[in-house]
Amino acid sequence: MDVLIEKLKVQIIEQLNLAEVKPEDINPDSPLFGDGLGLDSIDALELIVLLEKHYAIKIQNPADGKKIFESVRTMAEFIKSQGKS
């Protein structure tokens, strides 16, 4: 799980062009939206594409997004639950 979390951090930084952020700055349990990284709705779309592109995962039910993208850890857990890590 830890390896996947570190990999995800790098991918998020690259996808969202978070030039000022380093992987170690991201707490895997901090919220991605609002506080924490302070992402917004456009970033949510970018994260959906990230899952599709790197892990071949399509989110079937948009309502699940809120839980999946709560933090880096919840994203990693979701990827693992889909057997794609």
Binding site: L16, N17, E20, L45, K53
Partner: protein, 352 residues
């Protein structure tokens, strides 16, 4: 069109050190081989870093130049924003199109698509300022910036007080390379652009923004009028249009202190300007500017910034002069901008 557009704030990002207040072309930076890259400032000083991460260079250059102009004008908001750009946010357009090709039309991310449209710069400037007023982007090739000037003059005439206008253009490595392969560039730096001895252009980029007002305040110059000419068939047609324009401004070519020529360095397109030059040089000081900023759709915005600066300083830098007429004061400047022999525009600035 009676209103004057008093220039109360400016900001300019260009291939020269134009973000340095004290710099006035004592020495100039030549092209990087065959094109001019803009000298970009530290954007974090002008734009929230969280917004910066999504912005392409055109947006960064535009939003920063707009911020500089607003700061100088000591304003938080304006009554309208009018931008001009020939190619728009080219970097993001390229990113999006390349992603379509490289990913077989899959996995398309929204950011570069959202930011690829021409009006992104004007809208980002409005978002930063929380300006909900009239916002228009002109994409009329070599008339793009000039159209925003025309719109501003009309809007000031109709009662708006403060307006932000600007021109923005960016190039990308791929775009430069494609133009290089198409042999569009002039690589000869031994002949000045106004001699008509070279072929091709030196492509440039940059952004210049102005806060113009219907009230003089601390302005030292005003844009008094602008006129357009599309695909003239002779230099006489260009001269006739200039005379007609200046007549409408209650002046004449003989009375203009400085004429700023937009020679591109491509003798195939500059021939009408080359024929005009000796006619003008008898009575006015003459200078040129595309050896400073390069050639691009909105180079007229750079020329307008330069003209305003010359009036403020009452000095014509030796690095831009064509002839050496001495003028005790510079009260009026005519900019003759031309893009690829297609779009000619004439802008009159006066000291105020």
């Amino acid at each position: 069109m009676a209103a004057k557009a008093y220039i109360i704030g400016t900001g300019c990002i260009s291939p020269q050190n134009t973000t340095d207040e004290n710099y006035f072309f004592e020495t100039i930076i030549g092209p990087n081989g065959d094109h001019f890259p803009a000298i970009e400032p530290s954007y974090k000083e002008h734009i929230n870093p969280n917004m910066l991460r999504r912005m392409g260079r055109a947006i960064k250059m535009g939003a920063s130049a707009a911020r500089m102009a607003m700061t100088e004008a000591k304003l938080d908001n304006v009554d309208a924003i009018m931008s001009g750009t020939g190619l728009g946010c080219f970097e993001d357009s390229e990113k999006f199109l390349l992603a379509i090709l490289n990913n077989d039309e899959q996995f398309l991310t929204p950011t570069s698509f959202i930011q690829s449209t021409h009006n992104t710069v004007g809208s980002q400037v409005a978002l930063i300022m929380k300006c909900h007023e009239y916002n228009y982007t002109y994409t009329h090739r070599g008339f793009s910036f000039e159209s925003s000037v025309m719109d501003a003059l009309l809007s000031l005439n109709e009662g708006k007080k403060n307006i932000l206008i600007g021109g923005i253009e960016e190039h990308t490595p791929l775009f430069v390379e494609l133009n290089r392969q198409a042999k569009k560039f002039n690589t000869d730096t031994t002949h000045p652009l106004f001699e008509g001895k070279t072929h091709g252009i030196q492509m440039g980029e940059g952004s210049a923004f102005f806060v113009v007002s219907s009230e003089k305040q601390n302005a030292q110059s005003s844009i008094d009028g602008i006129s357009f000419l599309y695909k003239p068939k002779s230099s006489k047609e260009v001269l006739d249009k200039i005379n007609q324009f200046l007549d409408s401004q209650n002046t004449a070519l003989d009375n203009i202190d400085l004429v700023l020529f937009g020679f591109s360095g491509d003798s195939d397109f500059d021939n009408y300007l080359l024929e005009l030059l000796p006619l003008v040089s008898n009575h006015s000081a003459t200078a040129h500017y595309k050896h400073l900023c390069g050639d691009y759709h909105t180079a007229g915005a750079f020329a307008t910034w330069l003209a305003d600066k010359i009036i403020r300083k009452q000095e014509i830098p030796h690095t831009i002069r064509i002839n050496h007429h001495t003028k005790t004061s510079i009260k009026s400047i005519l900019i003759i901008n031309a893009y690829l022999g297609i779009n000619y525009s004439f802008t009159l600035l006066r000291q105020c």
